[in-house]
Amino acid sequence: MRSSVPHTADHTSDRVSEKAESFFPRLWRAYDESGVRDRAPLAIAIVSVLFQQFPQWVQSADKVALYGPLPLELFAVGILVSAVLAASARTSRVAVAIFIAPAVFVILPGWTAIANHTWLALWTIPVAVLFREWWKSDLYSFYLRATLGIVMIAAFSQKILAGTYLNGFYIGYLGANGATTERMFSFLCSGDPTGPCVFNQMIGIFILAWQLIVGVLLLLGLNSLIFLAIEIGFLLGAGVFADEMNFQVLNIALLCIVFRFGMPLWLAALSIALLVIHLFSISALVDLVLSHAG
């Protein structure tokens, strides 16, 4: 009796682990072979808009007063449905058309207040409706490449125009006034955190160089997967620093379409996880951990 119980338990756990071992490779294979991997980036891009917009909708007294809570919830469901349908070859184009409805009726009317994330989504996602199979279209992929290249160079130019990066001022400002993650480099500079500091300057110049180089390389048509991997790494790093994962997930998803790489299952799962984490904010989670550790 004594010996049979552990034996049975071992047997059961073996079966469970065998099932698990066979389940995940099968899921992975089905995901790749069905082509969902190719269409997942657009689905994730649409989901990122939902995660970016819906919390703002329900928190905005203006928006709630104008539309009422129920219509806002219905439009959010519409975006979610569109994200799910975007993953299927049969319905992907319809999904983009569905996405356009909340974009026109809820997002665009507040055009003066919407975040840059949403602007980028509006410049990119609805255009997919022009293509029956957007995931196979060279033209759509070129359009996204050119758009992202232009956006990176615009972000670089705006920082030069503001004059707050070459001197490290803005990094110092974040170090002194930002959220927990934005203060991660503040230990490098002592004294007045907004005063001159060579480390803040170096970080500022690095960000400028990164945005300019990526923008130029995208426009030149560089198609290396190593470049994609490095860029995803940078985006995630920047996302952690700025505590802004939403915009990064959108960029990563669009880059996966640009490079015709699709979105591996692990990256799709990571993206969803990051969007959920973003709801709570990384800084809040870090603060929580630190408060328990302290």
Partner: protein, 173 residues
């Protein structure tokens, strides 16, 4: 059918040109201090502090006690489609917003008011971040129905008058 038509190339080219033009114009607005750089799709977030626009309304005879204007009130909704959160820093507050304000605050009809807007900006060299006045609207009543309002934003001054609608005037206590 649509897949075979080359018009898509023209649409793509048009969108790219439009996007570049929009970004160029955005930079011009930012350089002139006319807009909130975080907004309007110019990708100029994280170049300066979030402006965090603040509105305080003061009575002429009680300058120490600001009146609260709630978000979601018709004063804000009047500019929802054109300038919510004052992304256009230099734009005038329209008569429709002021009329909506008095409709929701009928007890203030006849009181001279100042609507003061402030925001955070990077100023000076070496740079620093300060909250400063973005602009104001001065409301002066001419009689029980008509008021003059003076918009002062970005060094410009525009004076205009507005009259309460008949319906609103009729319901006054």
């Amino acid at each position: 059918m649509l897949d075979n038509i080359d018009i898509r190339k023209w649409i793509i080219a048009g969108l790219l040109i439009l996007h570049i033009a929009w970004l160029g114009n955005h930079m011009r607005w930012v350089a002139n201090g006319e807009i909130d750089s975080w907004k309007l799709g110019g990708y100029a977030m994280y170049t300066g502090p979030r402006p965090e626009v603040r509105l305080r309304v003061y009575l002429e005879n009680r300058p120490d006690t600001p009146i609260l204007v709630k978000k979601g009130s018709r004063y804000y909704l009047a500019t929802y489609f054109t300038n919510i959160e004052r992304a256009f820093r230099c734009a005038d507050v329209p008569a429709a917003a002021l009329l909506a304000f008095f409709d929701e605050n009928r007890g203030l009809i006849g009181s001279n008011l100042a609507f003061i807007y402030s925001d955070q900006r990077v100023v000076g060299d070496p740079p620093s971040i300060k909250r400063g006045m973005q602009g104001m609207v001065i409301v002066t009543w001419q009689d029980t129905q008509t008021f003059t309002y003076t918009n002062r934003f970005c060094g410009n001054e525009h004076i205009a008058s507005a009259t309460l609608p008949e319906g609103l005037f009729a319901t006054l206590p």
